[in-house]
């Protein structure tokens, strides 16, 4: 374990991914600093979800990935699941599990096989469900929920893992504005506590709130920079066909100074 890799939660070198015989991600290298929130943005089909899945170890890839200073192959399945959580986009959810049961599934990597949940598990799940404001209807089944409510429950499931690295693909799909604001707040809370977060976000103004931006296009990571930098804005404008209009907001701190609209 080198001291250089200690400061990174996740590192990838020359990551290439083939789906159905076709290379869709071409030699991406990136580093995710500890305690930072990075937003992964880019047009449809840029390979964002694929890259996230590969980082989570869910699909085959070529290249080298180092998680918390330890190469990929050194991790056992269980240990990795305790340290890294992944929330997919439009994953199926069986309608007849209760909200509470779904959130408790996030504790599986921490529980002995078939063991009853410990008081700590129950406490973590309660906190997670309260965070997404789903605690009051914890005994409803998934089938009884609206799309946004369902997504919040899945967020709680990912949150309940208490992982050091949290990868979220479209975490706010269908989630209403107040709960999006909640999400921003708890993601910031998590990063302050040392958790590293990667989120694929389509809403650029939300993505711009992140600590860093990764811009992807056509299977390549075309830019890695800070959200208020001109370079980042240029890269974004370029991958979105120059349809973005950047506006500076008065009276904000440096980070939140920019909003983007369509033109």
């Amino acid at each position: 374990m080198s001291s250089a890799s200690q400061q990174f939660a996740l590192e990838a070198q020359q990551l290439s991914i083939c789906l159905a015989g076709q290379e869709v991600v071409h030699g991406v290298s990136l580093t995710l600093p500890k305690g930072q929130w990075v937003s992964l943005v880019g047009p449809n089909g840029a390979g964002k979800s694929t890259l996230l899945k590969a980082l989570a170890g869910l699909i085959e890839f070529e290249g080298r990935v180092v998680l918390l200073g330890q190469p990929w192959s050194d991790w056992t399945r269980r240990a990795r699941a305790q340290r890294m959580a992944w929330l997919g986009q439009a994953e199926p959810g069986q309608d007849d599990l209760t909200v509470y049961d779904v959130a408790m599934l996030g504790r599986l990597p921490h529980q002995a096989w078939l063991a009853s949940p410990s008081p700590k598990d129950r406490q973590v799940v309660e906190v997670a469900l309260r965070t997404v404001q789903a605690w009051d209807w914890r005994s409803r089944s998934l089938g009884q929920l609206s799309g946004g409510e369902r997504q919040r429950v899945l967020l709680a499931r990912a949150l309940a893992v208490q992982a050091d690295v949290l990868l979220m693909d479209e975490p706010l799909a269908g989630v209403d504005l107040p709960h999006q604001a909640d999400w921003l707040e708890w993601v910031r809370c998590l990063t302050v506590q040392g958790t590293s977060v990667v989120s694929v976000l389509h809403e650029l103004n939300l993505a711009l709130q992140a600590d860093r931006l990764w811009v992807m296009s056509q299977g390549l990571l075309v830019h890695d920079g800070l959200p208020h930098e001109a370079d980042t804005h240029n890269a974004l404008s370029q991958v979105f066909e120059n349809r973005l209009h950047w506006q500076q907001m008065a009276g904000q701190d440096l980070k939140n100074r920019w909003i983007v609209t369509l033109r």
Binding site: W86, G88, D96, L97, T98, D101, P117, L154
Partner: protein, 331 residues
């Protein structure tokens, strides 16, 4: 056994237990001559040799089918998956036909016969599921999976019919078998099914967290560190074994495996460790009850129980389809 996660106040388990006891008592006293409450002493041999194994056999076969159905629906995340729709029952049927052809007329002990036929049924069931999965290119595409299962079921069913036609010596036993009947279940069959049920139930319970994880999608299950791929293979084998053990003793009894898990889930929202066992109980009560009706409805004649479950189960499936489409959900 309590729920691992959410305390579940549903009394379904207790209700099933009461129903099972009632069906059991009725099953012992109901004969082809009608009700015979008081003749237990005279008819003791009859009760012990015929009615008791038959009633117990109906329970066990129903429990096996209920478990197979619950496993299929959990594994393939498909509310319509069932041992019949995936072709495994037809495969088991073909296996039984082949087994009967080879073993009828040989001087083997009855229990060796039973084990042999069950083994053939198992091979047939497993083969059929494999062919279905290959034809459907995996489990991801629901419609493809069900269509492949139907195709495999029809083709293997036709093969079994053809074999029976070519070998008239097995025609009698084969026909009872195709219709599905509990009337020939003896103690050997019961022991075999009980053993299979204990084994499969234990494996299903041990692997149930993977089914819970799969409820959130395959990738999520993997991200939770669950050994999805290996467990899925084991559970397909277990599902085929359950189907085979039931089919080899009672023939093709449709819809129990489909209806039992559905009825359970309509009452109980819980993790698989619990719903799997409730599905077993529900299957047992369904088939035990159907067996009782098959004997009582046109007594002293008797309906093949498979015909009865097909009619009742078909009706239930129509209601289910209607309810699902009304709820605006696609299958």
């Amino acid at each position: 056994m309590g729920s691992r996660f959410n305390p579940d106040p549903s009394p379904l388990g207790r209700w099933l237990m009461l129903l099972a006891i009632a069906i059991f008592m009725l099953g012992l006293t109901l004969g082809s001559e009608g009700w015979a409450f008081l003749s237990f002493v005279e008819d003791r041999q009859l009760v012990i040799d015929i009615r008791l194994p038959r009633t117990v056999g109906a329970f066990l076969a129903g429990a096996l089918l209920g478990l197979a159905g619950a496993l299929a629906q959990g594994l393939f995340r498909n509310p319509l998956a069932d041992p019949y729709l995936l072709g495994s029952a037809s495969g088991a049927g073909l296996g039984v036909a082949i087994g009967l052809i080879f073993l009828t007329g040989t001087s083997l002990a009855p229990w060796v016969m039973r084990v042999g036929v069950t083994g053939m049924a198992f091979l047939g069931a497993w083969g059929a599921v494999l062919v279905t999965l290959i034809l459907a290119w995996g489990v991801q595409h629901t419609l493809r999976l069900l269509l492949a299962g139907v195709v495999v079921g029809v083709v293997l069913g036709a093969c079994a019919s053809l074999l029976v036609l070519l070998y008239p010596k097995v025609q009698g036993s084969a026909q009872a078998f195709m219709l599905g009947s509990t009337s020939f279940v003896g103690w050997h069959g019961c022991i075999l099914m009980a053993g299979t049920l204990v084994l499969c139930g234990a494996v299903a319970w041990l692997t149930s967290p993977v089914l819970d994880g799969l409820a959130l999608g395959e990738s999520t299950a993997q991200s939770l560190g669950l050994p999805v791929t290996s467990v899925r293979l084991v559970l397909v084998a277990i599902m085929a074994l359950c189907t085979a053990a039931a089919v080899a003793q009672t023939g093709l009894i449709a819809f129990v495996g489909l209806a039992a898990p559905h009825l359970v889930r309509s009452q109980v929202k819980a993790v698989h460790a619990r719903t799997l066992f409730l599905s077993c109980g529900m299957g047992a009560v369904l088939l035990g009850g159907a067996d009782l009706m098959a004997r009582a409805l046109i007594a002293p004649l008797e309906l093949p129980v498979g015909v009865l479950t097909s009619i009742l189960g078909g009706g239930y499936m129509l209601v289910l389809m209607r309810r699902l489409s009304k709820g605006g959900r696609s299958l």
